[in-house]
Amino acid sequence: MSRNAADHAASLGAENEFSRSDSAVVRFENVGLRYGRAPEVLKDVGFTLTTGSFHFLTGPSGAGKSSLLKLIYLANRPTRGSVALFGEDVERLKRKDLPAMRRRIGVVFQEYRLLDHLSAFDNAALPLRLSGRKPASYREDVAELLTWVGLGQRMHALPRTLSGGEQQRLAIARAVVNRPELILADEPTGNVDHEMSLRIIRLFVELNRLGCTVVIASHDEELVARSRMPVLYLDRGRLKRAAQMGAEPDPGPDPEPESDYGPEDDER
């Protein structure tokens, strides 16, 4: 990463409010979720994510990883149990308070969900635009961030003209542009080659070092094992101990990661 990019990354972290006394960013208690009358896709799920932690959420296909993430980014409500975000019980939040809560969370969707009619620049700037900021106040920051993720030369390209890796990095840029306290990524390495997977994971590690709490859903067991990060392992809707994945089952304060995904020394 270049010096400028590093400065920008540092500023991302510096302006976050990560020194809150209540360190639970996400708390699930006996959470169950079912769609309609179908069987529960999540059963008695309970865990706590503390500020600045980094977790992989893994498990076989259909285990409920995406459903769990949806509960965290408020795209769904649990059918039972309680979900608390940033110390607030989601059930007690009023509808008008939800947008502010959502702005504290950056999401990298599984299918990227970029807006096809908008340029890469507009896509990346979306959360800032939605928060009501004037374009003049953020265009330099957005340009710098896009450069940081390696899209400096593709800012005005439409998403469909970008490669899979570029789209992925654009989705990550959009997720982090408003400096969220919590970053969720659903299979962020699903459609990219191995080298790109490593680069993307390094990006998240870097963001985590800057103070963001990070949860990455992935079914790539090798990738998860090499990370040596704590793992939340889901199996048929139940959260299991995840020692076999080389991670601590109880997500406590985040240990300093000693993984294969340290910061990149070189430029992309």
Binding site: Y73, L74, A75, N76, R77, R95, K96, L98, P99, A100, R102, R103, V107, F109, R113, L115, D116, H117, L118, S119, F121, D122, A125, L126, P127, R129, L130, S131, P135, R139, E140, A143, G152, Q153, R154, M155, H156, A157, R174
Partner: protein, 297 residues
């Protein structure tokens, strides 16, 4: 494409909703037709109102007195005395006995010529009233009594009531048509909003999950449909004004028919149409968007 500082300075955010598609062109056409019909109804209503006012004014400005002669007095003499007495009443501009020839002429279309000579035709006195301070039927009756003339006063109030009732029916009818067309336009916009939101489901969801407020998302659809409806309203209003102007030009000085007089100023009635159409569209789009958004968590 690379980005230079110059490019960056010129950058403006792109529209969050993609540009309109064919569905919206159809919607614009339907709203324009509804606006066209609503404007035609409005202008016709104004003309009908003016016609009713004219008839009422005419009826209010006249009264008819039927005179019954005394024993030994001719009908003409009794009518002459009555006319003289009535002419002096305050609020009467003119009173004159209706000559038998004129009375026969009035009756001829209904009764025919042959039987008129044998028919006892009532002797009538026509009274023109001062339009500003018209005399009442009671004033006229009192004057007849004082002059010793036996007669019945008809101030046309029965006809006036009929005309006013008819005018009221026309007014409410036009208002009803208006409400119906506004509701139809609203329903069409609501339908288009639902279709638009379904087509942009992904966009709406990404905005929603990225922290956009419901009001903000609703505002996007409101603005889109308000612009469309205003444009369609303008087109519909302009077409209606043109059609009415053509009818007035072709129909002579009194408009397209003498009983439905149209004034050039009536054409101004179409001017609020774009604003009304846009308002209906905003309300329909807002209600629809918020209802759909409230179904999401």
């Amino acid at each position: 494409m690379s980005v230079s500082p110059g490019n960056l300075q010129r950058w403006k955010p792109g529209p969050l909703l993609p540009r309109e598609d064919d569905r919206e062109v159809s919607l614009g056409f339907v709203v324009a037709v509804l606006c066209f019909l609503a404007c035609l109804a409005a202008v016709t209503g104004l003309a009908a109102n003016r016609a009713a006012d004219g008839w009422a004014r005419q009826l209010r400005g006249e009264a008819t007195v039927q005179v019954r002669p005394r024993v030994g007095e001719t009908e003409t003499a009794a009518a002459g005395r009555a006319a003289e007495a009535l002419a002096g009443v305050k609020g009467v501009s003119e009173a004159a006995a209706l000559e038998r020839d004129k009375a026969e002429k009035l009756l001829k279309p209904w009764i025919g010529e042959a039987s008129l000579k044998d028919l006892p035709i009532p002797q009538l006195v026509t009274v023109e009233l001062d339009p500003r301070h018209p005399a009442t039927a009671r004033d006229l009756k009192r004057a007849l009594d004082m002059a010793g003339v036996d007669g019945d006063v008809d101030d046309h109030s029965r006809w006036l009531t009929d005309v006013e009732r008819s005018a009221g029916v026309v007014r409410w009818g036009i208002a009803g048509l208006f409400a119906l067309m506004a509701a139809a336009a609203g329903a069409v916009v609501a339908f288009a909003t639902r279709a638009g939101m379904a087509a942009q489901k992904d966009l709406v969801e990404v905005l929603h999950l990225s922290g956009a407020r419901d009001d903000y998302i609703a505002g996007l659809f409101q603005l889109r449909f308000a612009k469309l409806a205003a444009l369609a309203g303008f087109a519909g209003a302009a077409a209606a004004a043109l059609a009415m102007a053509l009818l007035k030009s072709l129909g002579g000085g009194d408009g397209f028919t003498p009983v439905l007089p149209l004034a050039w100023s009536d054409l101004l009635a179409v001017s609020p149409c774009p604003l009304v159409a846009a308002t209906v569209a905003v309300l329909a789009a807002r209600a629809t968007t918020l209802r759909l958004l409230h179904r999401s968590p």
